[in-house]
Amino acid sequence: MKPFKFDWLVLPLIGVAAVLILWQVSSASWAKDLPTPEKTWQTSRPYIVEPFAKRGEMDQGILRFTWYSLILVAKGYALALIIGTPIGFFLGLSKTFTKIFDPLIQVLRPVSPLAWLPLGLVLFTSAGKNASELGALFTIAVCSMWPTVMNTAVGVRAIPQDYLNVAKVLKLSRTKTLFKVLIPATLPYMFTGFRLSLGIAWLVIVAAEMLTGQPGVGGFLWQEYNSLIYEHIILCIVTIGVVGFILDRLMSLVEKKFKTA
């Protein structure tokens, strides 16, 4: 097809329209419980037009819920980076370290967030009131850490010997080698890892909130499912998708900035 004016806007809208039609047809024919697009909009309106309203613990504007979720994700994600990056560096630098921990990492990596969460809750039972939040943080950190770990390790291993030779000839100290050579050379890889980690952290948040019942997009979704308000489930799904998309775009902008070498 020939490109035309505003095709970047028109073509995606065609896709959205197609899905809306499919949705309309489905709710009218075989999925009787599925609310129609129009009904969904009607029921969700108060949450969208007053996005920051706070009417009760589990009855708040959608952006307020999103904000809670984002804060939780930010904490867990920060934790993942703080723990994951050094582990990645050790894996990349030391063969012995790799031999000791790599099998463990490969086994833990594919474990689902749903499996980690109960363990997180058990771990922090002594924290009392904060147990569920700490459990959620633990889950987010443990699940989203791996792309950072793996990419950092690959990045460190991929540092050209030339750069290391420069460090050797100049007799740079260990810290100087780390900050002047190793980290800058690994940054592009690290940021690819950071971006993938953020995607996973955002995936995990919903599961974590659903199970802990914390206020947030995921918590709201679960509560509305239990009270049979299916319109709000769709609202939550759309919100989660859009926010995830925006986060990914933002990270890819940052990532591009570091792709200098």
Binding site: N165, V169, K180, P184, A185, A261
Partner: protein, 301 residues
């Protein structure tokens, strides 16, 4: 006692030696060129002097001290520039200055770095990243970085081989000029005999590898400054070039290596079906040992 002394140095990376019986002595302030085929072990030789590799046998001494590891007393210009791409020209050189002179005041370090950028005529490009520079400019940064370390000896590892002929000529003149200014001891590795003769006081061919060793050294008795156009008609230059090239070619034609390789030949006997097939359907070892045949092949250059 000469300044740089290699005594019966050999190096192998497991298997056949790459270098053997390497004896070399370089006087202080001398410019020595080592010419060799690609793959002869030139880079290995300079890595040994730089301390990036350890010799398998023999000893390397600089200023009567055994070389045990890399250090800033031996400035090295790598074949592929080896600049850090995330630092600007100035920062690349400053990093070297800081590493070598940690006690200097910040302003003194900066001035020192600036001085060497000016020496290779790169002041306009001082804030550019290596990625924005041409090959010739990058190599000049690399030379400036090595010189800014104020090393006792300068090691040039095929510094100009990746450049086009014109840029190479310009940089040869520049290296010649810089050398005449501060008379550092230089070991230049090159694959171009003309370049070696043009720049050096002494030129030594490296015989073809594996097991490469240094040939006789030829003194270049052409007065400096040397003019690259006039030198082409110089009888001594022609004679030198002939000798060096002849030595290198002879060393190569002397090599007749017999290589024995194992062959799996088809066998006319039927296959033994009692031997179970491997699950993968592919095996490294032949089904019957008697299928292994050996063949000896004479390899000529």
């Amino acid at each position: 006692m000469s300044y740089l002394e290699l005594n019966d140095v050999s190096k192998n990376f497991g298997g056949e030696p790459v270098l053997k019986n390497i004896n070399l002595s370089v006087e202080k302030g001398e410019f020595v060129a080592i010419v060799g085929f690609s793959g002869a072990g030139k880079t290995t030789l300079i890595s040994l002097i730089a301390g990036l590799l350890k010799p398998t046998g023999g000893s390397i001494k600089l200023n009567d001290l055994e070389i045990t590891g890399p250090g800033p007393d031996r400035g090295i210009v790598f074949q592929n520039y080896s600049l850090l791409p995330w630092l600007t020209v100035f920062e690349n050189i400053l990093l070297a200055v800081e590493a070598v002179n940690p006690n200097w005041a910040a302003t003194k370090r900066r001035e020192h770095a600036e001085k060497y950028i000016a020496m290779v005529k790169l002041t306009p490009a001082r804030d550019k990243k290596p990625g924005e520079l041409s090959g010739g400019m990058r190599q000049r940064v690399s030379v400036a970085r090595a010189l800014a370390m104020d090393p006792q000896i300068l090691l040039l590892d095929e510094p100009l081989s990746a450049l086009d002929a014109l840029t190479r000529a310009t940089l040869q003149d520049e290296i010649s000029r810089i050398w005449s200014e501060d008379k550092k001891t230089v070991v230049l590795i090159t694959n171009d005999p003309d370049e070696g003769i043009l720049l050096a006081d002494r030129i030594i061919p490296l015989a073809a590898g594996p097991g490469a060793t240094l040939g006789p050294s030829f003194k270049v008795a052409i007065p400096r400054p040397r003019d690259r156009k006039a030198i082409n008609h110089d009888a001594h230059f022609k004679q030198l070039r002939r000798d060096v090239v002849e030595f290198m070619l002879n060393s190569k034609s002397e090599r007749h290596t017999a290589v024995t390789r194992k062959l799996v030949l088809p066998d006319i006997e039927p296959e033994d079906l009692n031997i179970p097939r491997s699950m993968t359907g592919w095996r490294k070892t032949p089904i019957r040992k008697n299928e292994l045949k050996e063949e000896s092949v004479e390899v000529k250059p």
